[in-house]
C-alpha cells in the first residue's frame, strides 16, 4: 500500500498530493495519506464527497483513501 507523506505540509497541499496520486492507481486501490495539518481530515472528507472517492481516518495523522471514482476526474 503506497504511503503519501505530507507531514508538515499545510492544506491544500495534502489534498493536491492525494488527488495527483489517486489517478495513478486502479479503481478499488487504497492509498495511505500521512498528514498532521488540522484541516486535512475535514477537507479530505469534503474532497471525497466532491470527487466520489472513499476516505477513512485510521489515526490522528493517518488516513486511508480508496479510489472509487472511475472517470479520473479528480481534477488536479
Amino acid at each position: 500500500m503506497k504511503k503519501i507523506d505530507c507531514l508538515g505540509l499545510r492544506c491544500p497541499l495534502p489534498i493536491i498530493r492525494i488527488s495527483q496520486e489517486i489517478d495513478k492507481v486502479a479503481v478499488g486501490s487504497q492509498l495511505i495519506l500521512l498528514s498532521d495539518d488540522p484541516a486535512t481530515w475535514p477537507d479530505l472528507q469534503a474532497w471525497a464527497r466532491m470527487t466520489g472517492n472513499h476516505v477513512q481516518q485510521r489515526d490522528t495523522a493517518e488516513f486511508s483513501v480508496v479510489r472509487q471514482n472511475q472517470s479520473g476526474l479528480n481534477g488536479h
Binding site: C11, P12, A39, P42, D43, Q45, A46, W47, G75
Partner: protein, 369 residues
C-alpha cells in the same frame, strides 16, 4: 492610476443618513443623560427618542433594551445572563467562538449541523430528552440560538427548534441577521449588532424579554443591568441607520437575493470543484461562501485584491491560530480555498460579472501551478 477596490467584505461603510447625523449627535448629545443640567436633559431627550425609535424598528419595547459599547460582550450578556449554576448550555457546532468559550467553561451540549448548515431533527429529539433530564435534576437548560450564521449566511429554523424545547430558555444571537429575520415566537434574551443595519461599529444592543430570569452575569453593585457606558451619539446614529435601512429592507433583500442567485449560478457553471456553504433559499440574501478545491485561500484573496476586489476568507491560512473555520468543518464543507462574498446595497450585476471573471482567472492560475 489609483486602484479602485470593490468591496465584497462583511464590513460596510456607515449608512449615509447615520453619517450625516453623527456630527450633530456629537454636538447635541455629549452630556451625561443621568445628570441634572440643561445639557444633560437635552441629552436625555435625545437618548429616549433614539431608544424609542430603535425599539419600534426592532419590535421590542424600549424599556427592554440595553446598550453595550463592546458588541461581542453583548452576546455574553445575552447568554450568560440566563444561565444559573448547574444549568446546561446548549449550542450548535457552528455557533460563534464567544459562545463556544462559555460552553467550555461549564456543562454544555453541542448540537451538530448537516451539510446544509441546519440542525437536523434527530439531534433535536435527543436534545429534548436532555432538556427534560435537566429539569428532573432541578437544573434548567439555556439554548444559545444563532439566528443566522455570519460565515455562511444560513438562517436557522429557529421557531421549529424553539417549539421542540418548551422548557428551555432561549438566548438569540441576531448579530448577523439584524432585521433580516423576524423575532422568534418565544425568546428570553436577544443580542443585536448595530453594524448589521449599517449603523456605527462598537454598539451592541441587548434585549431582555424575560426580566425575571435574566441577571447581570458580571460582578456589579446596584440594580444596573449593564454598565451603561455606550456612546449616546452612536445610539442616535444607530437609530437613524436602522430607520433608513428598515424602510426599504424588503426591496433590498429581494434584489440581493436575485444577485446572489446569479453569482452562485455563474460560479458553479464556470468553475469546477466548487463547494457552496448553505442554500440561498434559507440564507441571508447577501452572504455567499465558496470553497475551491486545490486552491489556497490566502493566495486567492491576494489575486482578487490585485484585481481590485476585496473579499473575506474562512480558510485556515487566514486565521490567527491557523486552524480551519470551525463552521465550514462542522458542516463538512471544504475549508481550504474559501472566500466569502458579501453583496452590498450598492453592488451591481456588472460588479458581480467582473468579480466572477476575476475569480475564474485566479482559480485557473492557482490550479495550474
Amino acid at each position: 492610476m489609483a486602484q479602485i477596490t470593490r468591496n465584497f467584505t462583511s464590513e460596510r461603510p456607515l449608512h449615509p443618513k447615520a453619517r450625516e447625523a453623527l456630527q450633530s449627535a456629537f454636538d447635541q448629545g455629549w452630556a451625561d443623560p443621568r445628570k441634572v443640567s440643561h445639557q444633560s436633559s437635552k441629552a436625555r431627550a435625545l437618548q429616549n427618542e433614539a431608544i424609542e425609535s430603535l425599539g419600534q424598528s426592532l419590535g421590542i419595547p424600549a424599556k427592554k433594551l440595553e446598550f453595550i459599547g463592546e458588541p461581542r460582550l453583548g452576546n455574553f450578556y445575552a447568554v450568560a445572563g440566563l444561565l444559573r449554576t448547574g444549568d446546561i448550555l446548549i449550542h450548535s457546532s457552528v455557533d460563534r467562538n464567544e459562545v463556544l468559550a462559555i460552553a467550555r467553561s461549564r456543562d454544555s451540549h453541542e448540537i451538530p449541523v448537516g451539510l446544509d448548515g441546519h440542525i437536523n431533527p434527530t439531534s433535536l429529539a435527543s436534545l429534548a430528552s436532555l432538556a427534560s433530564l435537566a429539569n428532573l435534576d432541578c437544573a434548567t437548560a439555556v439554548l444559545a440560538l444563532q439566528i443566522a450564521n455570519g460565515e455562511t449566511g444560513v438562517i436557522s429554523w429557529y421557531n421549529e427548534i424553539i417549539s421542540q424545547l418548551p422548557s428551555v430558555s432561549i438566548a438569540c444571537d441576531f448579530a448577523n441577521a439584524g432585521i433580516g429575520a423576524p423575532l422568534p415566537d418565544r425568546w428570553d434574551s436577544a443580542f443585536f449588532d448595530s453594524k448589521s443595519w449599517q449603523g456605527p461599529e462598537g454598539l451592541g444592543i441587548l434585549a431582555i424579554n424575560n426580566e425575571s430570569r435574566w441577571r447581570n452575569p458580571l460582578p456589579h453593585l446596584g440594580p444596573k443591568r449593564v454598565p451603561g457606558s455606550a456612546s449616546l451619539p452612536l445610539i442616535i446614529a444607530s437609530a437613524i441607520a436602522l430607520e433608513a435601512t428598515a424602510s426599504d429592507a424588503l426591496t433590498t433583500h429581494n434584489r440581493l437575493r436575485e444577485l446572489s442567485a446569479f453569482l452562485r449560478q455563474e460560479i458553479t457553471s464556470k468553475i469546477t470543484h466548487c463547494d457552496i456553504a448553505g442554500n440561498l433559499d434559507s440564507s441571508l440574501p447577501h452572504i455567499n461562501s465558496f470553497s475551491f478545491l486545490y486552491v489556497e485561500g490566502e493566495e486567492l484573496l491576494r489575486h482578487l485584491d490585485k484585481a481590485g476586489f476585496a473579499v473575506d476568507s474562512g480558510s485556515a491560512c487566514n486565521a490567527e491560530d491557523l486552524t480551519p473555520s470551525h463552521v465550514l468543518a462542522a458542516m463538512g464543507v471544504l475549508t481550504h480555498g474559501n472566500i466569502r462574498i458579501t453583496l452590498q446595497e450598492s453592488t451591481s450585476k456588472e460588479d458581480v460579472v467582473e468579480l466572477v471573471r476575476a475569480i475564474e482567472r485566479a482559480v485557473a492560475e492557482l490550479r495550474s501551478r
